[in-house]
């Protein structure tokens, strides 16, 4: 059996990291051939939805590289990338997929060697991790469902708003001219990730067939009490409605949204 070779997608910013990769080439520094590079103008451009899409399609790893802090061609796009990746890692870890499959690194235009080193290291790490459970003919259904839910979360305004404002709120201050503590912010962020992720899982599940709170709780490995709270919100948002009551169990179904 040949050794497992991970497929890696690399998002490289045009101004630093892409140049760094070029430099690696010019300097003929060797690194594993696993990476497929996608050039973006700024690491901050990498939309969490796209990363999740890559992972859903079976990429074994995704790496985002950008300029070192303070060197971003677009002032602070890289810092935005950092917040996005942090959120994404939290989100991914909830799906059952290893969050190590996503990595962020700073590579400057002069760091050809470092670029090669990073790729080598990431490739080795992924070799050890093994193939993504979403790769191949039979992707892990549960994890896939999780990633699809995560995609919906990453695409919706709540988390995008939070991520988009995180840096300003913490470093520059909020509308009340107060700096928000990182811990306080993380609490809001983690709570939002948890809640929205579960809600989207539920929403996806009841798209297929009506389900009860108990059924959903079993499926998701959650306390039914929490599932009910999320059903309350989903009903308020008009995403889920009561289908029928079977015995003691109300069954909920996703509302058709055309």
């Amino acid at each position: 059996m040949t050794e497992f070779e991970p497929k890696i997608i690399g998002f490289l910013c045009n101004w630093c990291s892409y140049a760094g990769a070029d430099l690696a080439g010019v300097s003929r520094i060797q690194y594993p051939a696993n990476i497929r590079v996608i050039r973006v103008m700024c690491s901050g451009r990498v939309d969490p939805v796209i990363v999740l899409e890559m992972l859903a399609n079976g990429a074994d790893g995704v790496i985002v590289t950008g300029c070192h802090p303070g060197e971003c061609h677009y002032m602070e796009g890289n810092l935005q990338a950092e917040r996005k990746i942090k959120m994404l890692k939290k989100l991914i870890s909830r799906t059952g997929l290893e969050s190590e499959r996503l990595r962020l690194e700073w590579v400057s235009a002069s760091e050809g060697a470092r670029f090669a080193e990073v790729i080598k290291d990431f490739t080795n790490q992924l070799r050890n991790l093994g193939a993504s459970p979403l790769a191949g003919e039979n992707p892990d259904k549960t994890i896939l469902a999780g990633i699809i839910a995560a995609k919906a979360v990453a695409g919706a305004s709540r988390l995008r708003t939070l991520v988009g404002r995180e840096r300003t709120l913490i470093e520059e201050g909020n509308v009340y001219d107060e700096k928000v503590g990182q811990r306080e912010f993380d609490e809001v962020m983690d709570g939002s990730i948890d809640a929205e992720y579960i809600r989207n899982r539920i929403h996806l599940l009841v798209k297929d067939k009506p389900m009860s709170v108990e059924g959903l709780a079993k499926h998701l490995g959650l306390d039914p009490k929490n599932v009910l709270r999320h059903i309350v919100v989903l009903r308020q948002r008009g995403l889920v409605s009561l289908d029928r009551i079977e015995g003691e169990d109300p069954l909920y179904i996703a509302l058709e949204v055309s």
């Binding site: 708003t161 709170v213 108990e214």
Partner: protein, 1005 residues
């Protein structure tokens, strides 16, 4: 002395505060209504239904909220607290601290986009923590004022709301403000706090998910609650099959220091059980109780129905503790019944939590310098139940004692009359009368309709193609102008509408936006300011009933919006200007009945300078109070009686007619003419209102050897004996519910339990060795009366329960009275040989009521008491305007309750008497006498007695009493000859609307 101020500060925006504010504002005073929360409405907004009518709480409350919110004499001060009070009765200077809301109350349109975009979630307190809301929020969807607020504790300050608010209402730099108001008097209505059930650890609240409080259960029951009206258990969302209600959680509990009874819990628990059963007919509800205290009007009937029709089980027992079954999260309710420990497994436990004084009671009392009682409720006296210890500061609602909604509403009106009385010389000095330009006569003009279509930010514009609707509308016949606005309700658009009316000579206006229920008054005002009659305006509801409910079908929503506007335009084409007739008011009152209630009402009217005729059938004033010699918690009632008689007879405004009865009544609100029969002589008086205070009577029993043996007395007779010093006994037995709560008189007479306790204590006071036995069905010493029950028990009064199957037996044995009472635990009849047997007899309605009711055309309940307009929110009104009731004519009640109600009736009456003329609604019924056949059908179906038959040219014709018509239109749709036209909703107008709604949209396609 400084001048008095014609304004009142009302503290607390619950139902009591709202009622007090409206009564005052309608009587010519300026009102500042203060609430610490961002919206008015109080606890009642959280309730699903209300007992005993099962009315939807929001249905009956919302119109009052809107009226209070828009009243020109009511200024809402939300999110504020009292900081300091200076001055004295008549002229207080009150400093308030208003917390920042971070939203401009003038600019916010309540559209809700901010809340939908806010990324921060918070626990929804309105839904009792069973759901989530955002950090920017309104308390509930129908909130008044409908202005959002930022929860600063939760907000992280991200700025999203400001960005999405198209109205520019968000202002993060808002700071805490100090406001000073000058008022003549203050009314306190801060309500109550629910008891925290965590303090009763044995019931497992906070530990077991399926143990909920009664207020949480209200939200669970509510159709607009977190579970959308499904009764579910919080642990797993399953439908419960068995629910247990545990009573007296935090009430009647010496261990936690709340000795008093919370008065409303028995009834609300029964209601919750009944409503839950209506949700799910297989549900088994069990109520664990000590006494069922269904003492109010129609309460026992409700209780009986719950048991007989809804199969609610009642188990008389105090629950010792509740355990959770770990696997099922079901609950084991452990209790003792008849001496045996028992356990019942249920799916959900509801704890009927009691009422506590408001959180800041102590602080408030300190700031205001008023006294609290030992439980930290506001201290009041029996004969002055609405006065705090500080002159000029009054109290109503649950702050003075736990009470239900109708009692709170009655007290609120009562407090209003007291607060106004102090400053009645200043009536009308601070209220504003708006000046309008003269109305343009448009009767000869062809319709020229202007249509204003609202985007409502993105609320309509996001789903309905608003410009397309405007283009479509422009092509409709008679539409000469149409435009679209970001917010049609904004200040600048209002100005724009007025300008367009002038520029384009518009004579009809349509606004297509949200709902007329909240916004019609605003736009009517706008067109009126531009010289148009308010009835030349209509709204098309393209938001609440279109864009918001068809969010995923923008094309169809646009088609529907066009249809809605088209059909409203079709109606508007036919609109006619209407006049609001003015009806003169005779500023004189008539009070029927010279007992405590009647005298109090008369005195309150006179104090505010209104003439009043007080009619008493007997030869002296005083009524039932003449027979009361001592009262629980109060000194010398006879002295109080003398003082109030003096007050009434000494006031030249009060005309007392003794030995008199009314023999004929003519007329209607503002203009009654009543004939009195005074000692055989006829007197005619003109008056604007009537207050019925005819009292009630003590029932004379036929059972238990009453009237056969002299030692068998009624409580009143015992009281006479105890007062006259003729009492000497070793043993006294009392039997409760004699003539009450039985087949013929199924109701509870409310006062007999405390009467028995009162007499028992009196006996113990003079001869502690005398044995007193009270044989009862339920001890109904509600509120603070519970203290006296406890005192009696501690002094050795023996309370022995009996039920209907084993009623006490009374016989004469060798000349001695022998009472046998069944003891259920040892299952045997116990003999008592009392020297006196006292019967707590029913209070029965005055037999004169029937005659009086017919003359005034007002209804009676099946027990012969007067039946008010609405048991919850209009406790002293009748459906017929200008007629009010109070005291025992309404239902048995205590002295304090009678006084509160009498004051309330006076307050309600003054809302009419204080006006020179009453403005009548223009959209009312109108009779075409040529078509009328005089069949009287309309007369018989009008619920307001607004139609009377008059002879016109020798024929009977229906005649509308404009002052009484409420504009429902039921007469019009029932008239066989179509002689009645319902103005503003005429047949032609409605039919045009219907036809246009169904037209094909050919033109636009």
């Amino acid at each position: 002395m400084r001048d008095k101020v014609g304004a009142i500060l009302v503290v607390g925006g619950g139902i009591a505060g709202i009622q007090a504010s409206l009564d005052l504002a309608d009587s010519g005073f300026k009102v500042y209504l203060l609430d610490e929360s961002p919206s008015i409405g109080g606890t009642m907004t959280q309730l699903d239904k209300t007992f005993p009518t099962n009315d939807c709480a929001m249905c009956i409350l919302a119109p009052k909220l809107v009226t209070a919110g828009r009243h020109p004499n009511v200024e809402l001060i939300m999110g504020a607290e009292i900081k300091r009070v200076e001055g004295e009765a008549g002229h207080f200077q009150v400093s308030l601290v208003k917390k920042p809301r971070y939203i401009d109350e003038e600019k916010c349109t309540g559209c809700g986009v901010c809340a939908r975009e806010c990324p921060v979630e918070a626990i929804d307190e309105f839904n009792e923590r069973l759901g989530e809301r955002s950090a920017i929020y309104v308390k509930y969807p129908q909130a008044v004022p409908l202005v959002y607020a930022i929860d600063r504790d939760k907000c992280i300050g991200c700025g999203t709301c400001q960005e999405v608010c198209k109205a520019g209402a968000v202002q993060y730099d808002e700071k805490e403000k100090e406001i000073t108001v000058h008022v003549g008097s203050v009314i306190l209505a801060p309500g109550f706090e629910e008891f925290d059930p965590k303090l009763k650890g044995e019931y497992g609240y906070g530990q077991h998910s399926n143990v909920v409080s009664s207020i949480e259960f209200e939200r669970i029951l509510s159709a607009s609650g977190p579970y959308g009206g499904l009764v579910l258990r919080p642990s797993d969302g399953k439908v419960p099959r068995k629910i247990a209600f545990i009573q007296c959680v935090g009430s009647r509990d010496a261990k936690i220091g709340n000795n008093y009874c919370s008065s409303a819990c028995c009834m609300y628990a029964i209601k919750e059980a009944v409503i839950a059963r209506e949700h799910n007919p297989d549900l088994q509800c069990t109520i664990f109780f000590m006494d069922v205290r269904a003492y109010g009007k129609e309460f026992d009937a409700y209780y009986n129905r719950a048991e007989d029709e809804y199969g609610v089980r009642f188990i008389r027992s105090r629950v010792s503790h509740v355990e959770e079954v770990p696997e099922s999260q079901n609950l084991l309710v452990n209790y003792v019944e008849d001496g045996n420990p028992k356990t019942e497994e249920v799916n959900l436990v509801v704890l009927s939590v009691g009422m506590r004084p408001p959180r800041h009671a102590e602080e408030l009392a300190k700031t205001l310098n008023i006294r609290l009682n030992k439980y930290d409720f506001c201290s009041t006296q029996t004969f002055s139940p609405l006065e705090t210890s500080r002159p000029g500061i009054y109290v109503c609602g649950a702050f003075s004692a736990p009470k239900d909604i109708p009692e709170s509403v009655a007290q609120a009106s009562g407090a209003a009359v007291k607060a106004a009385s102090l400053i009645s010389s200043e009536r009308g000095t601070l209220t504003t009368v708006k000046e309008y330009p003269p109305e343009r006569d448009v009767s000869d003009e062809a319709p020229r309709i202007g249509v204003f279509v609202c985007h409502c930010g993105i609320n309509i514009g996001g789903f309905v193609n608003v410009p397309e609707v405007v283009e479509y509308v422009k092509a409709l016949p008679n539409v000469v102008y149409a435009e679209h606005n970001l917010y049609t309700c904004s200040e600048d658009t209002q100005k724009g509408i007025r300008e367009r009316i002038k520029e384009h000579n518009l004579n009809r206006v349509v606004v297509a936006s949200c709902t007329p229920r909240t916004h019609e008054p605003l736009f009517r005002e706008t067109v009126r300011e531009a010289g148009l009659n308010i009835y030349l305006f209509e709204m098309a509801n393209i938001r609440d009933q279109c864009s918001w409910v068809h969010m995923h079908e923008p094309e169809e929503a646009t088609v529907k919006a066009k249809d809605l506007v088209r059909s409203i335009v079709a109606k508007v084409r036919l609109l006619k200007p209407l006049k609001k007739p003015m009806i003169g008011v005779t500023p004189t009152g008539l009070v029927i009945g010279g007992g405590l209630s009647g005298m109090t009402a008369a005195s309150e009217l006179a104090k505010q300078s209104f003439e009043v005729h007080l009619v008493e059938k007997e030869k002296e004033l005083g009524g039932h109070l003449r027979h009361i010699h001592y009262v629980l918690g109060s000194k010398n009632p006879q002295e109080q009686l003398r003082s109030i008689i003096k007050e009434v007879t000494g006031n030249e405004k009060v005309h007392v007619h003794l030995n008199s009865e009314i023999s004929d009544v003519e007329g209607y609100v503002g203009n009654f003419k009543t004939t009195l029969n005074c000692d055989g002589k006829k007197k005619e008086i003109n008056h604007g209102i009537v207050i019925i205070a005819t009292g009630a009577k003590e029932h004379r029993p036929t059972e238990y050897l009453y009237s056969i043996d002299k030692r068998v007395l009624t409580q009143q007779e015992l009281e006479e004996k105890l007062t006259n010093g003729q009492f000497d006994a070793k043993t006294v037995a009392m039997i409760q519910c004699v003539g009450s709560r039985n087949g013929t008189r199924p109701y509870c007479s409310r006062i007999c339990c405390s009467q028995a306790v009162k007499n028992a204590l009196k006996i113990k006071e003079s001869s502690p060795e005398t044995d007193v036995y009270i044989l009862y069905k339920d001890v109904r010493t509600y509120g603070f009366l519970e203290d006296y029950y406890r005192e009696a028990a501690s002094k050795g009064v023996l309370f022995i329960r009996y039920d209907d199957e084993n009623k006490p037996k009374v016989t004469l044995e060798h000349g001695k009275l022998n009472v046998l009472v069944w003891e259920p635990v040892i299952k045997t009849w116990i003999p008592i040989e009392p020297d006196f047997l006292t019967l707590s007899t029913a209070t029965i309605s005055n037999p004169d009521n029937e005659r009086i009711a017919k003359m005034l055309k007002v209804p009676l309940s099946k027990d012969g008491f007067f039946l008010e307009a609405h048991m919850k929110l209009r406790p002293v009104d009748f459906a017929t305007d200008g007629v009010f009731l109070c005291g025992l004519a309404h239902w048995p009640k205590s002295i304090a309750e009678s006084i509160s109600q009498a004051c309330a009736a006076a307050a309600r009456a003054i809302t009419i008497l204080s006006k020179e003329a009453l403005e009548v609604e223009g959209a009312i019924a109108n009779v075409n006498e040529d078509f009328c056949s005089g069949c009287k059908i309309c007369e018989s179906i009008c619920a307001y007695n607004a139609i009377e038959m008059k002879e016109v040219d020798g024929k009977l014709r229906a005649h509308i009493l404009e002052a009484l018509c409420k504009g429902c239109g039921v007469c019009g749709s029932s008239c066989p000859t179509k002689a009645i036209c319902m103005l503003h909703f005429t047949d032609d107008q409605i039919l045009a609307e219907v036809r246009a709604a169904l037209e094909e949209e050919a033109k636009y396609d």
